[in-house]
């Protein structure tokens, strides 16, 4: 049994952080809140998502399979569809109610009721293994600064370099004709581990991700040399956590 009530804009922010990477996935509902981990079809990007029960105005969950506190329900959700519904709703409260037997999720916003059929979890891809990674460098930056640079970069090329050179963090993109570089020194950032390294990433993926993080004030970038990028940020005013992982591109010699 799962019934909950949450501010529609908070839920929308959460769903948007998921749809930045995947269209659908298995949402795990447990007593302490919601969790999801999913990888995109090309195995290039991953999203890990957690939303604590405190983010809800009302949260009731009871496992149908057993009484243990660790029990959870796993439901397959088409997040793009759910986002579409929330976009109609506006700023109201959303009531959610899960019917596991019928495989339906009931949503109600004011007088608008919408029933979503759940996806068969066996038709969804397995929850991915998280690679074991160690990041030598960490940068904390204002989200808006990051997103603005990504928007500019989209106009120039299709991949972007993120790196640290001494006490400077930089983002750099080169197109056929043009070049764009953002350089921020340690004092212009919230945090920086000095070092010398960089990696190259596909802008298609980073652009999509940058849309998913738009509500967070800051983001933490974890970097390595020719290494995946991990971006961490908070949603739902700190009551939720999102982490993106993105595999790098191979640089040309």
């Amino acid at each position: 049994m799962f019934e909950a009530r949450i501010d529609a804009s908070v839920l929308r922010e959460c769903i948007e952080s998921i749809t930045a990477v995947v269209d659908e996935g298995k949402l795990r509902i447990a007593e302490d809140g919601l969790k999801l981990r999913a990888v995109d079809p090309a195995n290039v990007a991953m999203v890990s998502f957690e939303l604590h029960r405190d983010a809800f105005d009302d949260f009731r969950f009871k496992s149908e399979s057993g009484a243990e506190a660790t029990a959870a329900a796993e439901v397959g959700i088409d997040f793009v569809k759910l986002r579409g519904i929330l976009e109609i709703g506006g700023r109201e409260e959303v009531d959610l109610k899960l019917d596991e037997q019928a495989q339906k999720l009931f949503t109600r916003m004011g007088s608008l009721a919408y029933t979503i059929s759940l996806l068969d979890p066996s038709s969804l891809r397995k929850e991915p293994k998280v690679p074991e990674l160690e990041f030598p460098v960490q940068v904390i930056i204002e989200t808006e600064e990051f997103r603005r640079t990504i928007r500019a970069a989209e106009k120039i090329g299709d991949h972007i370099m993120l790196g640290v050179d001494g006490e400077e963090f930089y983002m750099q993109v080169e197109g056929e004709m043009d070049k764009l570089r953002l350089g921020l020194r340690k004092e212009q950032l919230i945090h920086l581990t000095p070092g010398t390294l960089h990696s190259l990433y596909s802008l298609d993926y980073i652009s999509a991700m940058s849309k998913g993080m738009s509500h967070a004030a800051n983001i933490t970038l974890n970097l390595g040399k020719d290494y995946p990028l991990q971006v961490d940020f908070e949603v739902a005013e700190g009551k939720g956590k999102v982490s993106y992982l993105l595999a790098p591109r191979i640089e040309s010699e």
Binding site: D40, A42, N43, M46, P131, E132, P228, A247, P248, I250
Partner: protein, 411 residues
């Protein structure tokens, strides 16, 4: 820009000229020029043609065969690229064959429901060639014309009237589909499922027979070809994206008229990348560039939203052939198509060359490999040198979205 001609392929006149100088250079008069005094024509029509210039007021009409009546030639031969491929016709033979085609032009609005248009639609739907009587407005011109997308056309003429002299035989099932209230894409799928090849489906689409009845309109032949490739692909793709991935790396290969294809299937969910490498002297790489020019287009699992402008119709034709093959295997895959175009492909014959050669690659057994590295090494060894000029796999790799992207599973 050095890639201009390769991206344009004579279709969009990106150089700013009024006609494509590369295509104009290929113009030549056909042996039928002696018929230039004729004012009328009676003979078989095998297809229809809808122009694009002046859209939505375009010039449309039946395509007829100049030597079809008295000789006992097989009329289907003039229209069926799959047969040309199967019989291994060369460039000259195809040009020769198509030089017997006459395109008639009659001004019509794409939404017109005139008798002329109704007759054209029947010709498009008919199972066999239909005899027509045409009266000309002017003298025909007997210049062969070529395009990146279309089969060559031998002659053209403005016509005053058309009279269909027999009852076109329209298959019942086809008739049922076009009379029903189907949307264009649904109707196109239905026709394809009946076993009609994309050439016929595209012709029916261009005739304006498809779509909800109050929205029906003719579609320029050029556009109908890529639209059909794209529509049928989308249907196949929706199904094949549910299939399990292939379990090893395999490379398929075929070559036709100096178009050399290597197709790599990789175990992953569907994604698709297509390369064209135009060698100096091949159609769109006028010999002024010293090096082969490589262009690339890519789409991920979710599909693409923008037109594949770097490659145009060839991208869609090859993608359809790949989807047909995967659908038959009941598998999905990550796909890379390499197409090398060598100098003997000096005249553009239409996008069917791409479709048929790519289809043929899958008729043969592919070479299987356990690792990506082995598969790529094999491809590298199969790329063809031309006059000492040779591309290696790394020339494609640097541009590749698929090969240069690491996966999370690599860590």
């Amino acid at each position: 820009m050095y890639r201009l001609c390769i991206v344009c392929k004579g279709s969009r006149l990106l150089c700013g000229r009024k006609t494509c100088p590369l295509l104009a250079g290929l113009r030549k008069t056909t042996k039928f020029a002696e018929l230039s005094d004729t004012k009328e024509f009676f003979g078989p029509s095998t297809s229809i043609f809808v122009g694009r210039i002046g859209y939505p007021r375009v010039r449309v009409g039946p395509m007829t065969i100049l030597e079809g009546r008295d000789s006992d030639v097989e009329l289907e031969r003039f229209e069926e690229p799959s047969k040309w491929f199967a019989q291994g016709l060369g460039m000259d033979e195809i040009v020769e064959l198509r030089s017997a085609t006459l395109r008639s032009k009659h001004g019509e609005h794409i939404k017109s429901r005139s008798n002329f248009v109704a007759d054209m639609t029947e010709i498009a739907l008919a199972k066999q060639p239909v005899d027509v009587e045409l009266t000309f407005k002017s003298s025909p011109t007997f210049n062969l014309s070529f395009s990146d997308l279309l089969r060559p056309i031998g002659a053209s003429v403005s016509v005053e009237t058309m009279h269909v002299t027999e009852n076109p035989k329209i298959p019942k099932k086809v008739d049922r589909i076009v009379s029903d209230e189907f949307k264009v894409s649904e109707a196109a799928h239905e026709l394809y499922d009946l076993g009609l090849d994309v050439y016929k489906v595209a012709m029916i689409l261009s005739s304006g027979a498809l779509g909800l009845h109050n929205a029906q309109k003719m579609v320029p032949t050029r556009w109908s070809i890529t639209a059909t490739d794209d529509t049928i692909f989308k249907k196949l793709a929706a199904q094949l994206k549910e299939y399990p991935p292939v379990d090893s790396y395999s490379v398929y290969e075929s070559s036709y008229m100096d178009n050399h294809f290597l197709i790599l299937l990789m175990p992953s969910l569907f994604e698709y990348e297509n390369f064209e490498a135009w060698f100096p002297g091949s159609v769109w790489n006028d010999a002024c560039y010293q090096r082969p020019v490589v262009v690339e287009e890519y789409e991920g699992f979710k599909g693409r939203k923008q037109y594949a402008a770097n490659e145009g119709g060839g991208y869609y034709a090859a993608r359809l052939a790949v989807a047909e093959a995967l659908h038959k295997m009941r598998r999905q895959a990550g796909v890379i198509v390499l197409r090398e175009i060598h100098p003997r492909y000096s005249v553009p014959l239409g996008v069917w060359v791409v479709r048929e050669t790519a289809r043929d690659a899958f008729r043969k057994r592919g070479e299987r490999f356990d690792t990506k590295k082995e598969a790529l090494n094999y491809i590298d060894s199969r790329l063809r040198a031309n006059e000492g000029m040779r591309l290696g796999l790394k020339d494609f790799e640097v541009l590749s979205k698929i090969l240069r992207q690491k996966r999370l599973t690599d860590f």
